[in-house]
């Protein structure tokens, strides 16, 4: 990863963070809102493979944690796992269908939110599974499908796949 890639990745994280807190936090349905920060590791895993997905997920999660009331490091842990899992799961997929990125984003976001709630409950945060998970899934999953394409484009620009991961992607890379 070059210095330019690093600068681009930082820029993308801060732009998405700004949009999240100024715009998306206001779009609330039943107390939940779309979560673009959780989409960053998904996009990185999809566009750049498991290694870079995990690294980008960890650092974007840390940035998100700075402004959240939940335990610091929880988003980093989930982001790292999510970036890695998305990279591994989508490595062999033929990427010729337009619906693949939204479908991957929705499925991975649902998995990420569930993991977040489970890990939060393990860390002793009350109501994670019983009070908050269902509204977060109902709002966050379709929103992730809608936001998938612009976020993927930005992340693919900032975090290119390594030569080894590029070889493993089938069907001409990002769509």
């Amino acid at each position: 990863m070059t210095t330019t890639d690093l600068a681009r990745a930082t820029l993308v994280v801060f732009v998405v963070l700004g949009v999240q807190h100024s715009l998306l936090d206001a779009v609330r349905v039943d107390g939940a809102h779309p979560d673009a920060m959780l989409l960053l590791p998904v996009a990185a895993g999809y566009a750049a493979g498991p290694d870079r997905g995990a690294i980008f997920g960890f650092f974007s999660g840390l940035a998100a944690d700075l402004f959240l009331p939940t335990p610091f490091g929880l988003s980093a842990l989930v982001g790292c796992l999510l970036g890695y899992a998305t990279g591994v799961a989508t490595r062999g997929l033929v990427r010729s269908s337009w619906w693949l990125p939204p479908a991957v984003a929705a499925a991975a976001t649902a998995g990420g939110m569930t993991a977040y709630a489970i890990l939060g409950a393990v860390l002793g945060q009350p109501g994670m599974l019983r009070a908050y998970l269902v509204p977060a899934l109902v709002v966050g999953t379709p929103a992730a499908a809608v936001l998938a394409t612009p976020v993927l484009r930005m992340v693919a620009w900032a975090v290119p796949a390594s030569a080894a991961d590029r070889g493993a992607q089938a069907g001409g890379g990002l769509r």
Binding site: G18, V19, H21, S22, L23, L24, D25, A26, V27, R28, V29, D30, G31, A32, H33, D35, P50, D51, A54, I55, F58, G61, L62, D65, L66, F67, L68, P69, T70, P71, F72, G73, L74, A76, L77, C80, L81, Y84, M113, Y116, A117, G120, L123, Q125, P126, G127, M128, R130, A131, Y132, L133, P135, A136, V139, G140, A164
Partner: protein
């Protein structure tokens, strides 16, 4: 040769993910052990202080778009609410003369200005700058922090009653845990000395009123106010919620009671932080 390369790549990947997981767990542990005063909290507070001017600038530009989108999502509900409010306004106008109406409004504003249950506690009026930043906690952020004397544990009220409690504060802002958060628990008093515990069940959901003995005469509309007990977590007599539902099950150890917060938590804009701590009670 190719097999060896693949194996070494897999091993490297294992090391990367292992190091990241270990780093995450270390950070979480440091945060827990610091308990709001460690290095992690210092980093969080510095980031919030640095980001707040940028956040406010961005907010001014982007919030109208967010409000528009939020309005589009809730268009049906808003139309219904508008129709209901219009109807109520017409009814009120027909009942009252305009002079009487003006007098009532003035009295309401005066009540807001001198909240009777605040007493002589010093207050800091703050603006809500961020609503519910996490999907997994019911919190808001205010624009007043330690620089104005706001500290962790202080109660926060709006015109109608209790909003929540300060759970984190830094130089230029603070985070409030709303009474509807699943981690919130407020000791309350009702009627002639009955005690209960009001617990949050998530943003926009009714509050659960626990430890109400079976057979307690509690009716819909009963006002629940802070008890002043519970090691004085809150000063006494602040309105918290009104009972909306009571039902009893035979052989149950307590009544099933739910309540609605008296403060409109969905439309918070200005709140008062009470500069009060349990040691000052």
């Amino acid at each position: 040769m190719a097999r060896r390369t693949r194996r070494s790549r897999r091993a490297r990947r294992g090391v990367t993910i292992g190091v990241l997981l270990l780093a995450s767990i270390t950070v979480i542990t440091l945060d827990y052990r610091g308990d709001g005063r460690g290095a992690i909290s210092w980093v969080k507070h510095a980031a919030n202080d640095a980001f707040s001017p940028l956040h406010r600038g961005l907010d001014a530009v982007v919030r109208p778009i967010g409000s528009f989108l939020a309005g589009a999502v809730h268009a049906g509900a808003i139309e219904q609410q508008n129709a209901k409010l219009r109807n109520e306004l017409n009814r009120a106008q027909s009942k009252l003369g305009s002079a009487q109406l003006t007098r009532n409004e003035l009295q309401a504003l005066e009540r807001l200005d001198h909240l009777p249950w605040v007493g002589d506690i010093t207050t800091v009026t703050a603006t809500v700058v961020a609503l519910n930043p996490s999907n997994f906690a019911a919190t808001v952020q205010l624009d007043k922090g330690t620089a104005q004397g706001v500290a962790v544990g202080m109660p926060v009220v709006a015109g109608a009653g209790l909003v929540g409690q300060v759970v984190d504060s830094w130089s230029s802002g603070c985070t409030i845990r709303l009474v509807t958060d699943a981690a919130s628990a407020v000791g309350v008093r009702y009627g002639s000395g009955g005690l209960a515990l009001v617990q949050g069940t998530g943003l926009g959901r009714p509050l659960a009123v626990n430890y109400v003995d079976p057979g307690t005469p509690l009716s819909t509309g009963t006002l629940l106010v802070t008890s002043g007990l519970q090691n004085a977590k809150f000063p006494p007599d602040i309105p918290v919620a009104r009972v909306t539902h009571v039902s009893s099950t035979p052989s149950a150890t307590q009544e099933s009671v739910s309540a609605q917060s008296v403060a409109d938590l969905a439309q918070l804009q200005y709140v008062d932080v009470l500069l009060w701590s349990s040691s000052s009670s």
